[in-house]
Symmetry: D2
Subunit: 280 residues, 4 copies
Amino acid sequence: MTKYYRVLIDCKDEKGLVYKISKTFYDFGLNVENNREFVDAQNGKFFMRSEVSGKFDPDALKKELENYLPNKANIRLIEPRPKRIVLMATKESHCLGDILIRHEANELEAEILGVISNYDSLRSLVEKFDIPYVCVSHEGLQRAEHEAKILEALEQFGDIDYIVLAKYMRILTPEFVSAYEERIINIHHSFLPAFIGANPYKQAYDRGVKIIGATAHFVNNNLDEGPIIAQDTIPINHTMDWKQMQRAGRDVEKIVLSKALKLALEDKIFVYANKTVIFD
Amino acid sequence: MTKYYRVLIDCKDEKGLVYKISKTFYDFGLNVENNREFVDAQNGKFFMRSEVSGKFDPDALKKELENYLPNKANIRLIEPRPKRIVLMATKESHCLGDILIRHEANELEAEILGVISNYDSLRSLVEKFDIPYVCVSHEGLQRAEHEAKILEALEQFGDIDYIVLAKYMRILTPEFVSAYEERIINIHHSFLPAFIGANPYKQAYDRGVKIIGATAHFVNNNLDEGPIIAQDTIPINHTMDWKQMQRAGRDVEKIVLSKALKLALEDKIFVYANKTVIFD
Amino acid sequence: MTKYYRVLIDCKDEKGLVYKISKTFYDFGLNVENNREFVDAQNGKFFMRSEVSGKFDPDALKKELENYLPNKANIRLIEPRPKRIVLMATKESHCLGDILIRHEANELEAEILGVISNYDSLRSLVEKFDIPYVCVSHEGLQRAEHEAKILEALEQFGDIDYIVLAKYMRILTPEFVSAYEERIINIHHSFLPAFIGANPYKQAYDRGVKIIGATAHFVNNNLDEGPIIAQDTIPINHTMDWKQMQRAGRDVEKIVLSKALKLALEDKIFVYANKTVIFD
Amino acid sequence: MTKYYRVLIDCKDEKGLVYKISKTFYDFGLNVENNREFVDAQNGKFFMRSEVSGKFDPDALKKELENYLPNKANIRLIEPRPKRIVLMATKESHCLGDILIRHEANELEAEILGVISNYDSLRSLVEKFDIPYVCVSHEGLQRAEHEAKILEALEQFGDIDYIVLAKYMRILTPEFVSAYEERIINIHHSFLPAFIGANPYKQAYDRGVKIIGATAHFVNNNLDEGPIIAQDTIPINHTMDWKQMQRAGRDVEKIVLSKALKLALEDKIFVYANKTVIFD
């Protein structure tokens, strides 16, 4: 039976890697439908992503690649399937709604297991789409207690590939983040690294900038400092107060987050040195 | 004889300002060819810029406006003429060259009095255009000494409307800046407030951003914190090292700086609260 | 009781219009919270949009403005209220979904009376939001018959301010269009006037362009030739076939259509000479 | 001695091409510093561009690649050197000036042999840079006569890699074009295919568009229909008449033309099916 796989390789760069990998594919009789590679010369790192198809034994392919490639090469053979994702949000619906509509139209390679929020405001929207909604209020709880409850809620969804913070407005602790390393995608409502922290639109208004933007990134232990996946900006002008900037910015936020999510679902992102290599 | 003036007014906002100003124009028999106003409701500030023409006495018009408008209204009647500007640069030619070419094509309402640089590298380019080039080397000099020499060079050009830092890579002291308040325009090679300070492209590379940009701003006493006039961004990706970002960024830098300069020359900028109101 | 109105005026340009209008507002004791004007010097046309508030008699205000302004001045006093809109779509959900989500979040000054489609595919999405869905299949019908049925469906919704063609993929006859002149907003999936007609993404692919775009416009009697309200573009490259362009284009389409709709709902558009003046 | 070459290959697609090519590079002991490939699945075409270095015999490498690759594979081994280019212009200086400044700053891998214009207006600008300026007036001449004189002028420059039409405003005949097939780069002042032909800004103004753009393309026998290399757009609004659009458009024109020229000089463009594959 014909199999279809994504092969993602990253390793130390050395001469002949493309030759060795493409030879292996050739020897296995694979069709290579798409091929992207990148060498970070400065850091001596090699990245490659191929979409291959054919009648072959994935384990044998992986083994052969391991033989050929440098020690510690990171080789992933991924069979496309809907990734299992959980969305988290607070009160705003634009990012969440955008993902729900795309999901409904089968645009996303994903199964949405559920939505977790610290408020109940978005329940009605989410349940329209027959998706479980879990409200975990933070009121009266310490951060650790609240996160423990969220972790509990997450565990009930079983295996999770990605957690998408679709305007989830509370800070996550390093403990929480480390449980889902490189698997939490956040949308920050500014073009990072400008305006880290709370209310970036207010900060942007106060600074008098002429562009605003949004940044989708993996979450790591430092607030708003994780690897950036996608960014975009729009022009603004002096007539806009920060609430108008916020409204205008929503369109950028949702497009940038959905773009980043799509890249993750399609295994098009490599992370290293707190940066991303994107084969879009 | 028909006169053509730009009228710029900013004052405390109150009811009826547009009425009072337009009545005054009407009473003086002026044609209003262009009219822009803006109310910053939050700060209670009113801004208006009109292009008027007619046979009238500007002093009388100003007096009448003063009678009508709130105390301390800032009223400027400006007769368009080429502004007297001095360019400052270090070694890179892209911003300087862009201004020289525009000037040569009569695109700018400006007379370029001269170019001051701390190196001699750009002399050959500048002198092609029959523009005086003054090299004030900083070598062996303390900052204060160097600036004293630059101030001296500037003084020899007589009255100066604007100093344009077209990639002048040295920091100016508060003393220097205060001598030309709101008259020094700088291009910073990042979308401020991201990447303040030295080598923003290197900073951008290290942070792994997906967009880079440029910011033209008036210089004030805090490095890279003056009122922003214009900004723009371009998308980049993981394949670019910081030198490639720098090359790509040059196009944004020169366009943004020339745009800001044009706005200044055409009296389209109001500055207040460390921000700008731009009537473009 | 304090009233809040939008005043839209367009008329032949002549000296003193701003004075006369602002005097009238002043005499009526109105607060002018926002004021935009534009003179098309070439065509001698004047446009003004003001947001005014105060305790006043709108009829008296209109009468006074009529006295002052040139004959045939078009004066509209509009009290903000949710506009009554009907959406039409075919099979694609991205534009429709975007409007539904914004509506749900109270971002739109609109009441969605219903959705009409020539297919049943979008029923499940629309009915989630408790909005009536009317399927008027075109199968086996001549164009005139089909449109007659749609007109009938429209009439059942009562008064309609705007019809939004959110990827409604059938051509409307001049008869239909003339029944809703300047009240039908369409999204065309190219940057008009490039790629008029069917499958613009296929046309764009065949032509080998490096940007694609979308155009929101009022519909008139000539296919894709009505007054343009909003446009935007995104970069593409040789790796994208036309289906990938189509997918990428959807984000531009929905943002551009929603932007145009918002402008219409907030009475920010003047139409003349097959063009628009937008006070955004 | 270490050689540095660009290897450009395009041929019918078949299984194993990357393997065969990378094997050949490996067998020759080459360092592959940059590698880009693209398969147009629809048309069964394969494209690859590699930057290789090593101590090797280019003829032997080419022969080996020919043995391995499909019949009629187009294999080019290009040793980087300044391309020999001629610029043509009419009266506007922005595109020409931009190229001159970049050339002066050694940004372009090119030797500018000279500038040909049908007017004398740009002579003073060009001669500042010590570049030969040839005025070939079209006055009193039939098109064929005029072109004959231009061809004569071109011949005096010897071998020419590219002719750059930097706002050369006269139409070239198919005879002229065929003498420099895929070697003439033009900047058209609209986002093609919108507004083909004369005065696109006037056309854009009349149509009431909200974006304008520019297109750099190879010239072929049909006016403005050659393969597109680069395009970009900027937003405009109703306040701009066509002369203002023209002024605003100049910045896009020059950036887009210089970008396209740079791609050509660095051998990053493949042309086929009246389209381009760009490895930027």
